[in-house]
């Protein structure tokens, strides 16, 4: 049965020869050290053909490190990789690829200035023969279109990667792996930037792949997905395997296993006590980098003591909206008022200084300076202000004591305040940003994708801090493409679509309805509040 479908579904110009033998993978005693840190400590894992093997673990548990070794990007210090009973050494991804392994990386491995088709072709280019290796772009494009049709993952072969929203980039990564006809596919947090629908589609693709006898290693922080797709679950903590579980295990149990303590997956919050409006946006119009209208006349109001969630599929103008509020992007028209004072035209520094906290959506690009220490990152936008310094000089001891305090308060896991932030795990980098932005009295707190790629323990923590901030009377604006997150945190939800606010609904609205709004389909119910 599986064989037949395999033959049927084989795309017309598949790149790699089809392997008849299913792939069984064993990792034996894999150990990897970075200096004193043991990222992987004698890890044993077996992946059977045709199964989805989920890897769970906190940020920094060592999941990506393990997979990078399996893919030849890193070399293990100890241990063996055994494929179909044969121990193999992967010196580079080339070796892994030829062994039939493919990987979708947590951080996109896409060349931003290339088109989708170029990225997908890279490394396995179609050429018109000859010694020059003249590229056959037509065939490359067709391959992309074929694969994308076959798996229902729409991608435009001619779009430049840098112009694509992250969700689309993620699809490109997946298509790239699929065109290569691999036997074992590693998916490292592929769903972190996908919408619920997209995630659903991906799970379907994964099922069809396993039906073909291929195996999948699946890494995610979303327990629902694990339960929905995994055949087996391995949980890693601090580099060691701390247990295996079956898909029947409850989410709470899984979470506890990952983090080592009980985690509440629901946001714990009392009812909001909204006060006066603090942020008022009127008729805001903003263009994106290419001069295309991204925000097209948005009116919004955020009140003290409430969380206003902005739901929407990534790329519908949320980014530009927030950047315009923060003075990082010029507003073409409209007004943004904070406590009645206009923010349009003010510098980011002034805006931050007037009591606004901001967690940008792309933390490694915009949130932290990786070369800077944790302590320095904790004052990145307050370095020239009391108590840390003045426009001339920075008080080192204040910076140090602040760091110690925040590290304690926000449970940032790092070796010391002097550790460069770049060596922290993503979740902890995020906590650094959140800690910094919450460590001064705020009128307005804006958080974009506050928990993207963050483990459940940290999510719980960050959510609690956001609610805490709300309860102190700050107006909070949470932008997230994660519907669960918006629904859990917000007191009111604005759904954004193509640069406009389609509706403002209450979090009790049925999810399907909000989902439809996010897709641009307005029903009769939603208009009420507007």
């Amino acid at each position: 049965m599986a064989e037949r479908r395999l033959a049927l579904q084989r795309p017309p110009g598949s790149i790699t020869e089809l392997r008849e033998i299913p792939l069984k993978l064993e990792l034996r005693g894999i150990t990897k050290r970075f200096g004193d840190l043991v990222a992987n400590d004698h890890i044993d894992i077996t992946v059977e053909p045709g199964e989805v093997h989920a890897l769970l673990g906190e940020n920094g548990a060592g999941k990506s490190t393990l997979m990078n070794q399996l893919y030849g990007l890193l070399q293990p210090d100890e241990g063996q990789i055994v494929v179909n009973g044969e121990p193999l050494v992967f010196k580079s991804p080339r070796d892994a690829i030829s062994a039939g392994i493919g990987m979708v990386h947590q951080h996109f491995m896409l060349v931003p200035v290339f088109t989708v088709a170029e990225n997908i072709a890279l490394g396995a280019e179609e050429t018109r023969g000859g010694p020059l290796g003249w590229l056959d772009r037509r065939r490359s494009r067709r391959d992309v279109i074929d694969t994308s049709k076959k798996y229902g993952l729409p991608v435009d072969p001619d779009a430049l990667i840098e112009d694509l929203p992250v969700g689309a980039q993620q699809r490109v990564e997946i298509v790239k792996a699929l065109t290569r006809e691999v036997d074992l596919l590693i998916l490292d947090e592929p769903t972190a930037v996908l919408t619920p629908q997209e995630t659903e589609e991906l799970l379907t693709v994964m099922r069809s792949l396993t039906d073909m006898g291929k195996s999948i290693v699946f890494i995610t922080h979303k327990l629902k997905e694990v339960k929905a797709i995994a055949d087996r679950i391995t949980v890693v903590r601090r580099g060691k395997i701390v247990g295996t579980a079956s898909p029947d295990t409850s989410e709470d149990e899984l979470a506890a296993l990952m983090v080592g303590r009980a985690v509440s997956l629901e946001v714990q919050k009392g009812p909001a006590e909204p006060g006066d409006p603090i942020l008022k946006i009127d008729g805001l119009v903003v263009d994106d980098d290419r001069g295309v209208r991204a925000v097209d006349g948005v009116d919004l109001e955020a009140r003290a003591g409430e969380v206003l969630g902005i739901a929407g599929v990534q790329g519908n103008g949320q980014t530009e909206l927030v950047e315009a509020v923060m003075g990082l992007r010029a507003a073409r028209a409209g007004a943004v008022r904070l406590d009645g004072a206009d923010l349009v035209g003010l510098s980011t520094k002034k805006i931050l200084g007037s009591g606004v906290g901001y967690v940008p959506e792309d933390r490694s690009h915009d949130g932290v300076v990786k070369e800077f220490s944790v302590a320095e990152n904790l004052i990145l936008d307050m370095y020239d202000r009391a108590p840390f310094g003045n426009p001339i000089r920075i008080d080192g001891s204040k910076v140090g004591s602040n760091a110690t305090e925040r590290i304690e308060q926000f449970d940032i896991r790092c070796q010391s305040p002097a550790t460069p932030v770049g060596t922290l795990s993503g979740g902890n980098q995020q906590k650094v940003v959140v800690a910094r932005e919450m460590s001064r009295p705020l009128r307005l707190f804006i958080a974009s994708q506050p928990t993207r790629g963050v483990d459940v323990g940290s999510i719980e923590f960050i959510h609690n801090r956001i609610i805490h901030e709300r309860d102190q009377g700050t107006a909070v604006l949470v932008v997230s493409s994660e519907l669960d997150e918006v629904v859990g945190l917000a007191d009111r939800i604005a759904v954004m679509y193509r640069g406009r606010i389609l509706a403002i609904v209450s979090p009790d609205t049925p999810r399907e309805e909000i989902g439809l709004l996010m897709a641009g389909i307005t029903g009769a119910t939603a208009e009420g509040e507007k």
Binding site: Q75, G79, I351, E371, S373, R393, D411, R413, S416, N464
Partner: protein, 420 residues
Amino acid sequence: MTAETQTPAVKKPEPAGDDSFMNVFLRNLWSANNVLLTALSVVLAVVIGAVLIVVSDAEVLAKFGYFTARPSDALSSSWELISTAYSELLMGAFGDPAVFQAWFAGTATWQQAFTPLSETLTYAAPLVFTGLSVALAFRGGLFNIGAQGQAVLGCIVAGVAGFSFGLPIVLNLAVALVAGVIGGALWGFIPGLLKARTGAHEVITTIMLNYTSALFLSWLVIQKGVQAEGRSDAISKTVAESAQLPSPGGVLRVHLGIILAVLVTAGVAWLLKRSAFGFEIRAVGANPHAARTAGISVARTYVLLMAVAGGLAGLGGATQVLGTAHALTPAVAGNIGFDGLLVALLGRNRPWSTFFAALLFGALRAGGNRIQSFAGISLELVTVLQALIVIFIAAPALVKAIFRLRAARSTGLGASLAKG
């Protein structure tokens, strides 16, 4: 609120001082044996230099022609040649023991004994400034090839101020120095502004400004009012005595510039490490996007940074004119800007390392003069030696590999092969 109930943060080892990422990185790179490494780098350069010296000497080379017949000839003469060359280099940079003895015996003056050191410091002083200029810009993510042009402008403005105003002592010097800083700052400000406003790449603009300033200087020195009276060649009036950097005089050319260099290095170190502007520079240099998001104006930082860097290079030019040259000529700035580039690179863009790199370059220049004049070894060879020393010091991994100190690259691969 949940913080208290959570597992305590990972054990926090003692903070290792307020080290930057660079420091941590370097420490790892150099591991425990960095003194050894530096020494070995110099040894390597010296050995290769020795080979060149021998190869380039026809007489000694001829003796290798009958090496099998009488190896002692070739070996002893090579040894003699090499040891003279290097001892001259050292004596030219640090001091001649014979002269010290003579001084103790009363047949030479202390000035004579300290001449070599004075020379080293004289050459080093402007390089400290231009080196700092390049280093500072680098820390902010800008490649300032323009230190040369900025130094030239510093020379011009300081020089003109030095012979024009006739202010009283101290004040005249101060004004001339400040003028030099302003001249350089202006020449740095232009590419900074262009970068911030139009995005023009600083490498192109500064290269172009280098040539422009050199041409401007060669035009200026032969203009009436600037050209020295009664002279037909390209030399300006002499800087007033009161505007010259004080110096012991006589054989000792060293001047106040080197003290200034120490102070300015300390200032730049403070600026980078403790000041708000330094924080901005480093943040913009490491991640301009994050800096912008945190409210730092990247454009303003670029403009100010280039102006400050230009000012530093200008100060280098000013010390050259007010300290050693005392008059403007078309080539008065020599090569201090380009040498400053190497100095900064060698000092890995950290202020005090740059300072010491400048001292090393000064020593090589001073020693190079002596090796040329006493041992008759060509200036070109000294240049090659300089290049070799910089290469080896900048490439510790190479030195390690040559001496098989420790696998130069990650051992991961070898280990996995051995065990897998």
